[in-house]
């Protein structure tokens, strides 16, 4: 830490500093945000009569304490990387996809339907097919708010939230109606278990889905920084009217961005179904899409930033059960800490002011409120 602080005390000259300094510039605010969130979380724990050190120790132990714990953390992190990527990707086009949750639900239930409904396929076809089905379902569901924004001007924040509620209702209906598990003894709403061939296994304790998530992050990075589409997306995000003036098809780009974002969220749901749950059950995927918002902002909307952010949030989710079990603390405190992280990372001014961190001057500022009724 001291070396970097020395670096900040020297003035100017960004170019001459090494890669370590560049990385530090990317992670200083998120790290400070996590620190403050944990600090205020500790205050809340004290208020509610708990011992914060004991709580955080249990949390850490449940997340990284053993090989099984570590595996569980990666397992939790996997869908979160996808939903984080979904939100971060939409951010680049200036879109706030709060609907990752709904897109993820559709991905999860579609993968389940293909997983239990299709029989007799070898695993190397069945599993990818279910995954693609999930991606397609998420993509279609993501296209709706994109098209609504382009053709009617309805802001995606409200439409995606409404679509989340609609997705909950539709998937509940499917899991309790046409696709219900009718095996003897089952009374709850859930689909049958998927066939073994549709499962995504874990190799040496590391879920294969996690590898897929890393690949997805690389793919997103490649699209955003190495393709024309990525250039269009970033231009639309920074200034839509300038993009239109430059000949970029803004409407098309917005819809395509939402489609790809929805597909990412959909794969997240499919991976959760095929790799962890083994079926679709209402409530099992709750919150995965919303966590994507925190993760995307914590990762500074960069595809590679999303991975550590998702592992952090995944660790908190994995450790929360242990904390509840051994220290007797309601696991909802993790939600509070996450909200605080979201606040501090977006209110970077506060953090900069407390830690006297200089602004790097290279950051792309994205405004989300620009489409609010104004076209």
């Amino acid at each position: 830490m001291s070396a970097e602080q020395k670096a900040t005390s020297n003035s100017g000259q960004h170019q001459e500093r090494g890669w370590l300094y560049k990385i530090w510039q990317q992670v200083n605010i998120p790290l400070a945000a996590v620190f403050f969130a944990l600090l205020i979380g500790a205050v809340l724990l004290v208020i509610s009569g708990a011992n914060p050190i004991q709580a955080y120790a249990a949390l850490f132990d449940g997340a990284f304490g053993s090989m099984t714990a570590l595996g569980r953390t990666l397992e939790k992190a996997t869908p979160l990387i996808f939903s984080g990527l979904a939100v971060a990707f939409a951010f680049k086009a200036g879109l706030f996809n709060i609907g990752a949750q709904g897109q993820l639900l559709f991905g999860a239930i579609t993968a389940a339907a293909i997983g239990f409904g299709v029989e007799g396929l070898p695993a190397y076809i069945h599993a990818p097919l279910a995954l693609l089905g999930g991606a397609a379902a998420g993509a279609l569901y993501g296209a709706i708010p994109g098209a609504l924004k382009v053709y009617t001007g309805a802001h995606e924040v409200i439409t995606t939230i409404m679509l989340n509620y609609i997705a909950i209702n539709i998937t509940d209906y499917l899991a309790d109606g046409p696709w219900k598990d009718t095996s003897a003894g089952n009374i709850i709403a859930r689909t049958p278990e998927i066939h073994e061939t549709a499962r995504i296994p874990a190799i040496a304790g590391i879920p294969l889905g996690f590898g897929l998530a890393i690949l997805a992050a690389i793919l997103v990075w490649w699209i955003l920084s190495r393709t024309t589409l990525g250039f269009d997306i970033r231009t639309v995000g920074l200034n839509a009217s300038a993009a239109r003036y430059a000949g970029i098809r803004v409407g098309f780009t917005i819809i395509l961005t939402m489609v790809l974002s929805g597909a990412l969220a959909g794969i997240g749901g499919a991976v959760e179904t095929q790799g962890v749950v083994g079926r679709y059950q209402p409530g099992f995927n709750a919150g995965l899409g919303f966590d994507g918002i925190t993760i995307a902002l914590l990762g500074k909307t960069s595809p590679f930033g999303v991975i550590p952010a998702a592992i952090l949030v995944g660790a908190m989710r994995a450790g929360a059960s242990n904390m509840q079990f051994t220290a007797g603390i309601a696991k909802e405190i993790v939600d509070v800490i996450q909200a605080l992280m979201l606040f501090f990372v977006s209110a970077d001014m506060v953090v900069r002011w407390i830690f006297r961190i200089r602004e790097s001057g290279e950051e792309e500022k994205i405004t989300l409120s620009s489409g609010w009724g104004h076209q």
Partner: protein, 338 residues
């Protein structure tokens, strides 16, 4: 804006501006009367339910439009309502006094408003992200501090307003309600008057349309924005208090269920005016009331499809009305003093 028109108070102008609205009103009235003479009991039940379901929506919409008229987007109404619902409930548990509990909810809403104002006016955070922070924070805090098995002194019951409640049709629908529903109706007219007929309202709108010009003539932009966002938060707090103290009587996790966002659609549908928002909220309240009627009628539709109606309506309203509604010019733009 409004005053420039009112210098030509002719019937022609009135017809041009309010003709469609009047026609629509007469149509609705005729429809209500038709059903009233068909089946008075059911009609009254549906209309009364519409009024009650509209209460949190119109209050949320009032919060939203006070914010946006002053130039601050607030998508955190949901979280403000949820926090206030929780605190209102907790105060009810602690004191057993429903009126103090309302105060608790309203104050909580105001504090949440202060937080939103701090983020969007002082920190100049992107206001959409600020609202999201409020929503996620409220969900987390209420989930963490909520314990099951608490008992309360119950909830508000209807207070009939003497002879007014005896009027057929209107009486049982409008004048036989619990206190927060009355308060909501009164607030609609108060906010309408304040926004369009007082100096304060003119300043509020000036700050939302052209803060630089407002600043030049000596209006304190930051103060007006803070004040409106805090007052709006207090009204959202009342909406939250309605949920725990008047509608349900207890707290549940995420009990707002998207009402804070539906309120935004209501605000837009009502073209950023309190009276318009009231009409829009009654419409939404009506769709919810019909939802219950459909379930009672035993129509063989899965309950999940009926449950989707308010959310679908919201999307349809948004898709149909955005772009046709004029949004305050400086909405969502943080003001930088020079």
């Amino acid at each position: 804006m409004q005053n420039s028109y009112s210098s030509i108070p002719t019937w022609k102008y009135f017809w041009h501006r309010y003709g469609l609205l009047t026609g629509f009103g007469i149509f609705i009235l005729a429809l209500i009367l038709f059903f009233y003479f068909q089946d008075s009991e059911k009609t009254i039940a549906v209309l009364a339910a519409s009024v009650r379901h509209s209460t949190p929506l119109v209050l949320g919409a009032l919060c939203g439009l006070m914010n946006e008229r002053a130039g601050v987007i607030n998508i955190g109404i949901e979280g403000q309502m949820l926090m206030a619902a929780f605190m209102g409930y907790m105060v009810n548990v602690w004191t057993g006094n429903l009126y103090i509990a309302i105060l608790g909810g309203v104050l909580t809403g105001a504090v949440m408003g202060l937080f939103h104002a701090f983020m969007s006016v002082t920190l100049k955070l992107d206001q959409i992200i600020g609202g999201t922070v409020i929503n996620i924070l409220a969900l987390g805090l209420t989930g963490y501090f909520y314990q099951t098995g608490l008992t309360t002194e119950g909830k508000f019951t209807a207070i009939p307003l003497g002879p007014l409640a005896e009027i057929p049709l209107i009486g049982p629908v409008l004048f036989d309600n619990p206190p927060i529903t009355y308060a909501a109706i009164v607030l609609v007219f108060v906010v309408q008057f304040v926004l369009f007929r007082t100096k304060w309202g003119l300043r509020t709108r000036a700050v939302g349309e052209h803060p630089r010009a407002a600043d030049t003539v000596g209006i304190n932009v930051y103060f007006m924005r803070y004040a409106n966002v805090i007052l709006g938060g207090a009204i959202a707090g009342l909406a939250g208090a309605f949920l725990t103290l008047e509608a349900v009587g207890s707290f549940e996790r995420n009990m707002t269920n998207g009402r804070g966002f539906i309120a935004l659609a209501v605000m837009l549908f009502g073209k950023y005016t309190p009276l318009g928002a009231w009409g829009a909220a009654l419409f939404f309240g009506f769709t919810t009331a019909m939802q219950t009627q459909l379930q009672f009628a035993g129509i063989n539709v899965p309950h999940q499809f009926i449950g989707m109606i308010p959310y679908l309506t919201t999307i349809l309203v948004l898709a149909g009305f955005v772009g046709r509604t004029r949004v305050p010019a400086a909405d969502g733009v943080p003001y930088e003093k020079e």
